[in-house]
């Protein structure tokens, strides 16, 4: 049955490979962006929840 689909839909491989490429490129972009991030900013951001010292 699955052969039937693959034959009817010859471009299926393009979908499989292109989807992986899309993710890979996206992932690398995010990783590069993270690498270039400012350390001070990271510290500031990670302390945000602790800075609303309203409660005792």
């Amino acid at each position: 049955m699955f052969k039937q689909f693959v034959q009817n839909f010859t471009d299926s491989r393009i979908y499989l490979i292109s989807s992986l490429w899309i993710f890979l490129i996206f992932f690398i972009l995010v990783a590069v962006m993270l690498y270039r991030m400012n350390k001070k900013h990271i510290e500031y951001m990670s302390n945000l929840p602790l800075n609303d010292d309203n409660e005792k």
Binding site: F5, R13, F26, A31, P49, N54, E55
Partner: protein, 704 residues
């Protein structure tokens, strides 16, 4: 810039908190009731409104959208105000959101037992309620983005991104999975049919887990866990990486719910690959959470709240490891349709969602009531009985899943099925079902103890409805300082752009998967002998939907020898082209029904529906005597035929006027046939329609 004084709205947090607890108890009690019905069918109280097929959706909807839903809003309204240093945008919108959501839940509580359901899992509510959900969701969105706009904190903390992603994705999922053509006030047909409907539904179903049960809870984890442990999150960079990877990958994984079905093979493969990849971002979240506690593990020993968080995160880790494993075809072949999946879901639901909700309630209620928790002992008791409850729930169901999955595939040395009757395997796992119900009872006991503890806490404190706070106002124009121009930093300041980017990220996966299945007709090869349902069969099908038969019976025979031997020829995509909606099902508590047509006599079906144990001794299927008493409503035939034609089912023009004649003739012939077996029944009863439908199932391509 000047120092501004303002108040946090704690009242709305309290209200959502109460709703969380109340709906939690109701949803879990219904869950327990159906768990008992799985070994003692009489627990349906002999009543159609409390029978498994109708109230299993009530249980799932109540725990997902009422318990967890209100829990999300409680956590979001509390944390968002504080992270953005602003009161919620509008008190009125908060109120509309709260009461609107409760009304939606109440309408579910009324309509689902009445059998008013679309049959799409976790999207069962009919079209008027779907519209209400959309409106209330928009109210939530406006309130959320309004708050973001008037914030006093320039940067959006990672929790806020998770909330934004939740908002936009749930909106997209809900709308796409709600394209229905109304037939009457509370009945509609999905625009999609068969394979396409299945793909849309499981794209939705899988991502409802992702974006309703996961992302908002991760957001809450990133706010509340640092608060509880009094230390910042382990790695902020990891939180960014796993956020973007998680929302990107999750959306692709839906087809793993349809492995070995008639869904095109390439879509199945795509689902498998992305499911495996999903381990990484999921574990990124879990590891980030657990490592936040580094150096604070001594606290975990004394603090029940942190214990709940640790077990919750561990359950998340286990469920998100198990999910990708279940997406492997070899494992899925055994696990799919069995109790294994039920166990898997409940590790996530009871452990991750349940325990995080309890931890947040225990942490938050004393704070907004300015007091201490009433009893730490009871809190500890809740933790232990809850944890044991999860174990007693999950382990027996894992055993039941393995046992049944393997038994169904077992052959004798002669090459015959070892357990040819499905019921033989069911009877083997009934003790496991009993243990599961005990586990569920323990878990619910814990929740009731928690309720008592919280009520006592509330009684000794006083609600700070408006908690005073102060923060500097934001300068109207932001001037970037030198060295600040990193991409994500500016994104953190632009909520709208952030939202658009999140939408793009989640749409990519959906589009790549769905477009080919919808645009390329050869993807669903048509079969010439497949004809539309007759009017009587169509009514029978709607009764099948009303009674929730799909909750226990699949209509999808996978291409395995064990299945073709047991049920007949495997299911083909082209057989479902007129199925609005598809009824493939996701769990086999009973056997598959796709080739049920012609297998038994009409009299067998009649007696079986009246009392299943007469035909199948030991069966745990409940009796359906009301189908024999109730008259079939044929006034809707015309609108149903018209609706189906609009959706592309080739009924001839004008057939709607003649349909009831055909219906009566077919019903009469079934009634006449029953007389031969000494069953005298009027032809206008519902049972006749459901027999007609069952006898039609899978016969289009059956060799006669």
């Amino acid at each position: 810039m000047q120092l501004e004084k303002f108040n946090y709205d704690n009242k709305i947090v309290r209200d959502f908190g109460i709703a969380t607890v109340v709906w939690g108890i109701i949803g879990m009690t219904v869950g327990l009731l159906i768990a008992f019905q799985l070994f003692k069918p009489e627990m349906n109280m002999g009543n159609q409104y409390t029978t498994f097929g109708r109230i299993r959706p009530l249980h799932t909807n109540a725990v997902i959208f009422a318990f967890v839903g209100n829990g999300i809003f409680m956590g979001v309204y509390y944390s968002m105000q504080r992270l953005l240093k602003a009161r919620m945008f509008s008190d009125r919108l908060s109120k509309i959101h709260f009461w609107g959501w409760q009304l939606i839940i109440i309408s579910a509580v009324i309509t689902l037992p009445l059998g008013l359901t679309t049959s799409h899992e976790y999207a069962e509510l009919e079209w008027p309620i779907d519209i209400a959900i959309t409106l209330i969701w928009v109210v939530f969105g406006v309130n959320m983005f309004g708050t973001i706009v008037k914030r006093r904190e320039r940067h959006m903390y990672v929790a806020i991104w998770f909330y934004i992603a939740t908002f936009v994705t749930v909106a997209v999922l809900h709308i796409v999975n709600s394209f229905q053509l109304p037939v009457s006030a509370f009945k509609s047909y999905y625009l999609y049919a068969g394979v396409q409907d299945a793909l849309v539904q499981w794209w939705y179903g899988h991502n409802a887990v992702a974006f309703f049960l996961t992302t908002p809870y991760l957001g809450m984890m990133y706010y509340f866990l640092p608060k509880m442990a009094n230390r910042p999150v382990y790695s902020y960079k990891l939180s960014i990486l796993h956020f973007w990877s998680l929302i990107f990958i999750y959306i692709w994984a839906g087809p793993h719910h349809l492995l070995y079905t008639s869904l095109p093979g390439w879509a199945q493969s795509l689902g498998v690959v992305f499911s495996i990849m999903l381990i990484a971002p999921s574990w990124g979240g879990m590891i980030n959470g657990l490592l936040t506690l580094r150096g604070a593990w001594d606290k975990v020993r004394d603090d029940a709240i942190l214990k709940f968080m640790v077990v919750g995160l561990t359950a998340y880790g286990m469920a998100t490891f198990e999910g990708p494993m279940l997406a492997l075809k070899q494992i899925n072949a055994i696990a799919h349709y069995t109790d294994w999946i039920v166990a898997h879901v409940h590790v996530g639901a009871l452990g991750w969602n349940g325990f995080l909700t309890f931890a947040i309630l225990y942490w938050l209620v004393p704070r907004i009531y300015q007091t201490e928790i009433f009893s730490r002992k009871l809190m500890n008791f809740h933790f232990w009985i809850g944890t044991l409850g999860i174990l007693f729930y999950a382990i027996p169901l894992y055993l039941a899943g393995f046992a049944q999955g393997l038994m169904l595939k077992e052959f004798t040395p002669e090459g015959m099925l070892k357990y040819p009757a499905f019921l033989q395997t069911t009877l083997e796992i009934i003790p496991m079902h009993i243990f599961r119900a005990i586990g569920g009872t323990m878990y619910l006991t814990g929740v009731i103890v928690m309720t008592y503890n919280l009520v006592k806490t509330v009684a000794k404190g006083k609600l700070v409805a408006n908690e005073p706070a102060e923060a500097m106002s934001l300068a109207p124009v932001f001037v970037p300082q030198s060295g600040e121009k990193t991409w994500h930093r500016s994104l953190e300041r632009k909520p709208m752009m952030f939202m658009v980017l999140s939408i793009i990220v989640i749409l990519i996966g959906g589009m790549v998967e769905m477009m080919p299945t919808f645009m390329i007709s050869s993807n669903v090869p048509t079969i010439a002998s497949v004809k539309p349902y007759t009017p009587l069969e169509l009514h029978g099908r709607d009764l099948y939907i009303r009674e929730g038969c799909v909750n226990c019976h699949s209509q999808m025979i996978r291409p395995f020898r064990s299945e073709t031997e047991r049920y007949g020829e495997y299911s083909k995509a082209g057989e479902f082209v007129y199925d609005h909606p598809f009824l493939w099902g996701s769990k086999r508590t009973g056997p598959d029904l796709h080739r049920e047509g012609g297998k038994y006599s009409n009299a067998w079906h009649f007696n079986h529906m009246l009392d299943p144990t007469t035909m199948s001794p030991g069966s745990i299927m409940p009796p359906y005597p009301w189908l024999i008493d109730q008259k079939l409503d044929t006034t809707t035939t015309e609108s149903k035929i018209n609706a189906m034609r609009t959706l592309g089912v080739p009924y001839e023009e004008g057939y709607e006027k003649l349909a009831n004649n055909d219906l009566n003739a077919q019903a009469q012939s079934i009634a006449d046939n029953l007389v031969k077996d000494n069953i005298n029944i009027q032809s206008n009863r519902e049972i006749i329609a459901i027999i007609a439908y069952l006898q039609r199932l899978g016969t289009d391509i059956k060799v006669k």
